[in-house]
């Protein structure tokens, strides 16, 4: 990474775009990140901010807020997303989760949430129990929900369930991607009754292979679901309008892995 302990080096920071700068903070070791702050916000550096038409005080403040307090993401114009790469091999004692949906702008930061259980090993999230599912807090109701998933199943029931806009056990949406049928579905459970909104029965996810699952929902309740880069279908539903959690779950008694969760 090199040293940024001189003013000359600090100038280099200003040559980055806001996104690049945010990434540098995100990826830096704590000590290096602290030196960024020290150099970025000393008197001379602040003068440079004032002189730089592309970097306003507000944007600088957003960086400080975003880096120092993830709970502020989504409020007052701060930007970020809930995400997880499990690179810390932990599921608890972590960054706090961003809890408010936000239009992703020029600054972003991944905030690793606290999980109810499961295993974090080798930089991925692992579920091993029969039909096991684990949750983290999330009150996102619009945007994208994305995760990579990998199942070791090849016989019996296998696949994954990605519950989002989960209010309680009786009210939530979920992607139900079954490899054994096959059937890639978007479903809803309302008042304890489950309905299939989208069902794609001719696409087969691959066992022992990383698959991508994604779903989008807008303010009007319009959904679109994907398998990889391919859109499976669209539908509209407004039965559920709030969220407390999201869940990642496996189907059957099959080891299932998740990675690169992003909610934004």
């Amino acid at each position: 990474m090199g040293s940024f302990s001189t003013i000359g080096a600090t100038k280099l920071l200003f040559e980055y775009t806001i996104d690049e700068l945010a990434r540098k903070f995100n990826q830096a070791e704590p000590a290096v990140a602290a030196s960024y702050f020290d150099n970025l916000f000393n008197t001379l550096a602040i003068a440079k901010i004032l002189d730089n038409t592309n970097l306003s005080i507000q944007k600088g403040q957003e960086i400080v807020d975003a880096m120092s307090d993830p709970s502020k993401i989504g409020t007052g114009g701060r930007r970020g997303y809930l995400g997880d790469d499990w690179q810390d091999n932990k599921i608890t004692d972590r960054d706090d989760a961003a809890t408010t949906s936000t239009a992703l702008g020029r600054i972003f930061q991944i905030f690793r949430p606290e999980w109810s259980g499961g295993l974090a090993e080798d930089g991925v999230f692992k579920l091993t129990g029969t039909d096991e599912k684990q949750y983290c807090s999330s009150n996102f109701t619009t945007g994208y929900w994305y995760v990579k998933w990998y199942s070791t199943g090849s016989s019996g029931s296998w696949g994954m369930r990605f519950y989002f806009m989960w209010v309680d056990n009786n009210n939530h949406y979920f992607l139900d991607y079954r490899g054994d049928l096959p059937d890639l579905s978007l479903k809803k459970t309302v008042g304890g009754s489950t309905s299939t909104l989208i069902s794609k029965t001719d696409v087969e996810p691959a066992a022992n292979y990383w698959n991508d699952a994604k779903v989008k929902r807008d303010d009007d309740g319009n959904f679109e679901a994907w398998h990889g880069y391919i859109s499976l279908g669209t539908c509209v539903d407004t039965s559920i309008t709030s969220s407390n959690r999201l869940y990642l779950g496996c189907i059957g008694d099959v080891d299932t892995y998740f990675d690169n969760l992003q909610v934004y």
């Binding site: 139900d176 479903k187 459970t189 304890g192 009754s193 489950t194 309905s195 299939t196 909104l197 989208i198 069902s199 794609k200 029965t201 001719d202 807008d218 009007d220 309740g221 319009n222 679109e224 990889g228 880069y229 391919i230 859109s231 499976l232 279908g233 669209t234 539908c235 509209v236 539903d237 407004t238």
Partner: protein, 192 residues
């Protein structure tokens, strides 16, 4: 092949036996919204022509036009339209495969040109590649458009991107004809 239908809802509402559209026993792909207090649904189905014809012949299922479907969608969701209730057509994928095209090229398109959904753009893209492979040129589509309700081929494309089954099936019917002609010539050549 795609079709709009109104059908009853079956299933017990459990995760393993969810409420879903009645589709005359056909395992096809579908997307639905509940109507009539949840006892029925507006559904877009997609499958082989044989499967869709069986569904349309069922006395408990009613086929709808684009306009009828739009009215139902708008009555319940004023800010949504045809493109917001759609399902990827597996018939296009099968045709693509028969011509040596990988249907996964759908994924080349990630940004919608109209509306907010990408599905219709992906399908239009794949059908354009199929047309090219079959020698169905811009002039061909302009001529076909003039013979029907459109003036230019580009208008058909716009209607596909709006989620209109009429446009989707218009293109697909001509692709089917050309495909039949192509394989008929091939088998004749083989016999000779």
């Amino acid at each position: 092949m795609k079709a709009w239908i109104k059908t009853k809802i079956i299933g017990e509402g459990t995760e393993d036996n969810p409420r879903r559209p009645y589709l005359a026993g056909q395992r096809v792909t579908s997307s639905m919204i509940e109507i009539d207090g949840g006892g029925a649904c507006l559904c877009r189905v997609a499958g082989t022509p044989e499967q869709i014809n069986i569904i349309l012949e069922d006395t408990e299922i009613t086929q709808l036009t684009d306009e009828e479907a739009r009215q139902i969608i708008k009555s319940k969701y004023p800010n949504s339209d045809l493109e917001n209730l759609d399902i990827a057509d597996p018939e296009i994928d099968e045709i693509a495969k028969s011509l040596g095209l990988d249907p996964k090229i759908r994924g080349d398109i990630q940004i919608p040109t109209r509306g907010k959904q990408v599905l219709q753009d992906q399908e239009n893209y794949l059908m354009a590649h199929i047309s090219e492979k079959l020698g169905l040129t811009k002039d061909f589509w302009d001529t076909e458009a003039e013979k029907s309700k459109w003036e230019k081929g580009i208008e058909i494309e716009h209607n596909i991107k709006e989620g209109k089954i009429e446009a989707h099936e218009f293109v697909l019917s001509r692709i089917r004809e050309k495909l039949k002609e192509k394989f008929s010539k091939q088998s004749t050549a083989l016999e000779a």
